[in-house]
């Protein structure tokens, strides 16, 4: 799941491949942006038989649209009027253009869209310096509001 598109496009995204990859213990090399020490910390965080049980509810809600009846009645104007930054991975074999443009559609204030140099999903890990620089610029340019 932290892998690069050359792996996730075949072993994660398509129908039925993820379950097979897990049960088959198919291994891919650790990405260069994820050290063994970091993996050890991550493994510790997600240790235990039920480590993912509650977290997969995020998918149940999303896939089942279970939140729509509760959210729909008082959903406000969907447009965002404050500064918005969209940070996306480098365009590649898994890029869906219409989704890349989805944030811009609802951004009515200052809007920027930037692609980093890496093609993986985990942009904040794979391209940490680029992401940090983009975020830093965003924060500086946004209106200052004291806490």
């Amino acid at each position: 799941m932290y892998g690069l598109p050359k792996h996730t496009n075949k072993l994660f995204y398509p129908y039925d491949v993820l379950s097979a990859a897990l049960s088959g213990d198919i291994l891919v090399p650790l990405p260069e942006y994820f050290t063994p020490a970091e993996k050890a910390i991550r493994d510790k965080i997600f240790a235990g038989h039920e480590a993912y049980r509650a977290a997969t509810n995020w998918y149940r809600i999303f896939v089942g649209n279970l939140g729509v009846p509760e959210e729909q009645p008082d959903a406000k104007d969907p447009n965002i009027t404050i500064p918005v930054l969209s940070i996306l991975e480098k365009k590649g074999a898994a890029t869906i253009e219409v989704l890349e443009q989805a944030t811009e559609k609802f951004s009515k204030g200052p809007y920027k869209s930037e692609h980093v140099s890496g093609d993986g999903h985990w942009v904040q890990l794979q391209c940490k310096d680029e992401v940090n620089a983009l975020l830093e610029a965003q924060f500086k340019e946004s209106e200052f509001e004291p806490q």
């Binding site: 993820l18 049980r53 809600i61 999303f62 279970l66 729909q72 985990w122 940090n132 946004s142 509001e145």
Partner: protein
């Protein structure tokens, strides 16, 4: 989770709603704002480590929760607890507990739609929004997963969201746990 990855900055709080949240909190210095980092799946506050280090060194405040269902916090099993509007309210409560009036919001993966809910229901809490890898999605709209998969098969040659129905099954969390050190 926060107390594993950032023990010196980790906190555990019970919100007014009764939920327990663990999170990284570093107070802002001088006139800097605070940044709220919202992770995705299967992630935690740990995956913001490079941003936490960078921006705390610049004096920004950091608030990086382990979101509902993860880490040391509440892990309700009923799916309805994970309705975005409800979790956004919990984030608003967390901000209030820490005395933070406004934040820069940064979301990655599932953190992006949650950031969108925070905008939709608590826009006064946000200075700016950054959506990483996954776009903003306004609430109250049906996600047509089958339609997106058909579309992506036409565009990409494979169903980009083909894994999602599996992830919503009991088999998924059991399989992930059984292969936890391999799934990376």
């Amino acid at each position: 989770m926060a107390h594993v990855a950032f023990p010196e900055h980790a906190k555990l709080t019970t919100l007014p709603c009764g939920r327990n949240y663990s999170y990284v909190h570093i107070s802002a210095k001088e006139s800097k704002q605070t940044i709220l980092f919202l992770h995705g799946f299967p992630s935690s506050s740990f995956d913001w480590r490079h941003q936490i280090a960078h921006f705390s060194n610049l004096g920004y405040g950091i608030l990086a929760p382990d979101l509902l269902g993860y880490g040391k916090i509440s892990k309700p099993l009923e799916p309805e607890a994970y309705i975005g509007k409800r979790m956004a309210k919990e984030l608003a409560e967390l901000l209030a507990v820490e005395g933070i009036s406004k934040v820069h919001g940064v979301g990655h993966d599932f953190g992006s739609p949650l950031l969108g809910r925070l905008w939709s229901y608590f826009s006064e809490k946000l200075i700016s929004c950054a959506f990483l890898s996954v776009p903003y999605t306004p609430p109250g709209n049906y996600f047509d997963i089958d339609g997106y998969n058909i579309y992506s098969e036409q565009q990409l040659g494979f169903a980009k969201y083909g894994y999602m129905r599996f992830m919503a099954t009991d088999d998924a969390w059991k399989s992930l746990a059984a292969h936890v050190s391999r799934d990376i």
